[in-house]
């Protein structure tokens, strides 16, 4: 794309088709809202999925009725890593331009979580305020959710080998994304990470709006590892040749055999400077205009998320005039390297769910001489998955020599402890405490005053540990994070 296209969100704000509030829809809304309120009153869960779950039981079409049929504009974000963080950036950018953007709660990205967003947004007759929904959708829920949303833009962030036991194989996920691309109308924007070969190769025949984003840096910020997910040409399976590598398998690549190569970038990160755990400075070229930005979150992956968010603005035809002020105020999503003061000690909380997020987080928190005190936790739940073999693809070897004490927790603690042993952490430095509350106490007790504890935990243990920290007054509640 060469210039900002007309803003079709504005255009779509014409009078909506009236929603026929059927008795069933009203019943679903009443029950969903009541269920959410009750669960919060009882202190059971944070109500990010229950209203949608209940409402869909009563009216399975509720999402379609509330969103697609009313013409409520929406943006779908999918991919293996960075959905929540990018969603926050997009929501902030849109609000900065005066658009009432609303998003589903962090990680509530299955059908019931998305439905919860629509249910809680509506009144009892299904009427919703103007604006736009920013919806993160789990790769496994795409086929179910996207047709019911009829989105104006679909953003594909990246494809990593994410919880193989949930989806079978990476290529099944890319097939699901391609089927979504095929069903999108031409005026909907298809926004893709050009640096990820598998993502860039998706839906080559699709006609319509397409916006690409990536890095235009003159040096690598990463190197290829044997664990990199897709480093073969997605077209002909030849090993890709990389001119520069930016993050895992993302980079400037070309296939020596069939000529498949990184497409030109509409939105490009042209300068990147990491300054400690608190901030990332970057320059992003958006359709020829350079934006100099500061984001209060660390890591190379944050630069990808920012570029993706700006690419969505391009796709929607909204000039991000206030980007630098809005992005400077976007705090990390829960557990995305949150810095938490715990009395006279400091906690760095990192939510990690696969080798890539683990390795990226390890890199982002890796400022010598930290981390020396570590709490790691993994649990097998339906959300976290059952297969933890990927722990063996995490580069624990890189930090093992500096670790003084590691507390291992969660229901998969024994597997994690074994992994650490083979990474070079002597078992005498490891304590296994399955219970999360006790693990936090044990880990903090080993930290000296004014010292720092780094926590790396899967989804469920992060929620649990953060809940404990909230009870102790160290952080706000999850829904404000």
């Amino acid at each position: 794309m060469g210039a900002f296209q007309p803003n079709y969100i504005e255009r779509s704000r014409s009078p909506k088709r009236a929603l026929a509030a059927t008795p069933r829809l009203v019943a679903a809304l009443v029950a969903g809202k009541a269920g959410g309120r009750l669960s919060r009153l009882l202190g059971r869960g944070d109500g990010t999925s229950l209203p949608g779950l209940i409402a869909r039981k009563i009216d399975p079409d509720i999402l379609d009725s509330l969103v697609r049929r009313t013409g409520m504009p929406s943006i779908v974000i999918t991919g293996s890593n960075g959905k929540t963080t990018t969603g926050r950036l997009i929501t902030a950018l849109l609000r900065g331009e005066g658009i009432n953007a609303r998003s589903n709660a962090a990680g509530a990205n299955l059908a019931q979580g998305v439905a919860t967003l629509a249910v809680c947004d509506s009144d009892l007759l299904g009427r919703q305020p103007d604006g736009l929904l920013v919806v993160e959708v789990d790769e496994g829920a795409l086929r179910e959710v996207v047709p019911e949303l009829g989105p104006r833009a679909v953003l594909v962030l990246d494809l990593f080998r994410d919880q193989l036991d949930r989806y079978g194989e990476l290529h099944a996920v890319s097939a699901a994304i391609e089927s979504i691309a095929d069903s999108l109308p031409a005026e909907a924007a298809w926004i893709i990470n050009a640096d990820d070969p598998l993502v860039a190769s998706l839906a080559p025949d699709r006609r319509g709006r397409r916006v690409t984003f990536g890095f235009d840096l003159d040096r690598s910020t990463d190197h290829l590892t044997r664990a990199a997910d897709s480093i073969r040409c997605p077209i002909c399976r030849t090993d890709l040749s990389y001119d520069r590598v930016f993050l895992s398998h993302m980079g400037a690549y070309a296939c020596p055999k069939c000529g498949f190569a990184r497409p030109p970038l509409d939105v490009a990160v042209t300068a990147l400077e990491m300054s400690g755990i608190a901030e990332t400075k970057l320059t992003v070229r958006v359709l020829g205009t350079e934006l100099v930005l500061r984001v209060p979150q660390p890591g190379v992956h944050i630069a990808y998320n920012v570029a993706a968010a700006l690419a969505v603005m391009v796709g929607l035809g909204i000039a991000p005039v206030h980007a630098s002020e809005t992005l400077a105020a976007v705090r990390p999503a829960f557990g995305r390297i949150e810095v938490i003061q715990a009395g006279d000690k400091r906690i760095i909380l990192g939510f990690v769910k696969n080798p890539t997020s683990y390795n990226t987080t390890l890199r982002a928190v890796d400022f010598a001489p930290e981390p020396r005190q570590l709490l790691v936790a993994a649990s097998n739940t339906p959300v976290d998955g059952e297969d933890f073999a990927w722990l063996w693809d995490v580069d624990f070897e890189a930090i093992a020599p500096r670790l003084e004490r590691v507390t291992v927790s969660g229901t998969r603690a024994p597997e994690l402890a074994n992994r650490l042993k083979y990474a070079g952490v002597d078992p005498s430095r490891t304590t296994v405490v399955e219970d999360r509350r006790r693990a936090l106490d044990v880990a903090l007790a080993a930290v000296e005053t004014a010292g720092q504890l780094t926590i790396l935990a899967g989804y469920t243990p992060t929620i649990e540990l953060r809940g404990l920290m909230h009870q102790r007054g160290w952080v706000g509640p999850l829904r404000d994070a």
Binding site: R226, R237, E386, W390, A413, P414, E415, N418, Y422, P427
Partner: protein, 288 residues
């Protein structure tokens, strides 16, 4: 734990164990690299050095010159690339197997060492026929914790891991099962067999990775590789395996919850029936 040695040096009594890692970048899913880590560390903790040599597409070393060979899991598309290339390695690999080199194969590795893999559509992938077995794509994917009972020499042990495959493997006459299914689907969800063994070739569907949480199996592989190399019985010093044992027990408990269920994709909480594992009968079919 014994002192580790710098790379390339070994205990006075033992030479360096040479390990070939076939398709270390192509077939590398599900953390199977941890199997190499288990061999390397458990040898090193006993003062025995290892040299791990990646063998990629297009490379055709003399496999009989290695002491151990690993070929592990991969996704379908990668497996097709590997199948093509493996034809060039087949002769040397069969020679190595005949000479007693220790070969450890996991999942896609198991399928490729067999006669062929028949997908649900398209042409069959030709294996190298090092193992008398054949695999056909099945309608479901088995994704669950699994356990089997393994008899090797005079030892009997439990092996735990995580299976993730849709291929249905039938064993021929010239191999015996690696294990008898205690929980999980095994080779095909029907006959109670898991994996395959011939000579010093061990093939299994179990990821996990399997060796770090089944240290006795890792030690057995090290021991037979060493014994073959030095030409006399080897008595490996015992290690403190408390951490490994704990991981083993946790995985076994997870597998026990799957006992009798064909696949973890069925609703786990509603269908917690405890049917016994199917009776194991020796395979009778052969593909030769």
């Amino acid at each position: 734990m014994l002192e580790s040695l710098p790379d390339g040096q070994s205990h006075l009594d033992y030479p360096v164990i040479r390990v070939a890692h076939i398709y270390s970048s192509l077939l590398n899913v599900a953390g199977d690299g941890g199997n190499l880590s288990a061999i390397e560390h458990r040898a090193r903790w006993r003062g025995i050095a290892t040299a791990i040599v990646p063998v990629e597409v297009g490379e055709t070393p003399d496999f009989a010159a290695f002491d151990m060979i690993f070929i592990q899991g991969g996704q379908d598309v990668e497996m097709a690339v590997a199948a093509d290339d493996l034809q060039h390695k087949g002769f040397s690999l069969r020679e190595a197997a005949d000479q007693g080199v220790v070969i450890f194969a996991v999942c896609a590795g198991l399928q490729l060492l067999g006669h062929r893999y028949i997908p649900s559509s398209g042409a069959a992938l030709t294996g190298i026929g090092l193992l008398d077995l054949e695999t056909r794509a099945g309608p479901k994917r088995f994704m669950q914790h699994a356990a089997c009972e393994v008899h090797i020499g005079d030892r009997t042990g439990t092996v735990v891991g995580f299976e993730n495959h849709s291929g249905l493997t039938e064993l021929g006459r010239d191999v015996r099962p690696f294990g008898k299914v205690l929980a999980g689907a095994g080779n095909n969800g029907v006959d109670g067999t898991e994996g395959a063994i011939r000579d010093n070739v061990y093939a299994t569907y179990l990821h996990g990775p399997v060796l770090p949480k089944n240290p006795w199996l890792a030690d057995h592989l090290i021991q037979i590789a060493l014994e073959r190399k030095v030409g006399r019985p080897v008595d490996l010093p015992r290690l403190d395996d408390a951490v490994e044992t704990s991981a083993h027990v946790a995985a076994l408990n997870s597998a026990e919850r799957n006992r009798g269920r064909r696949t973890a994709l069925e609703p786990a909480l509603l269908l917690r029936t405890r049917r016994p594992a199917p009776e194991w009968t020796p395979p009778s079919s052969s593909f030769r």
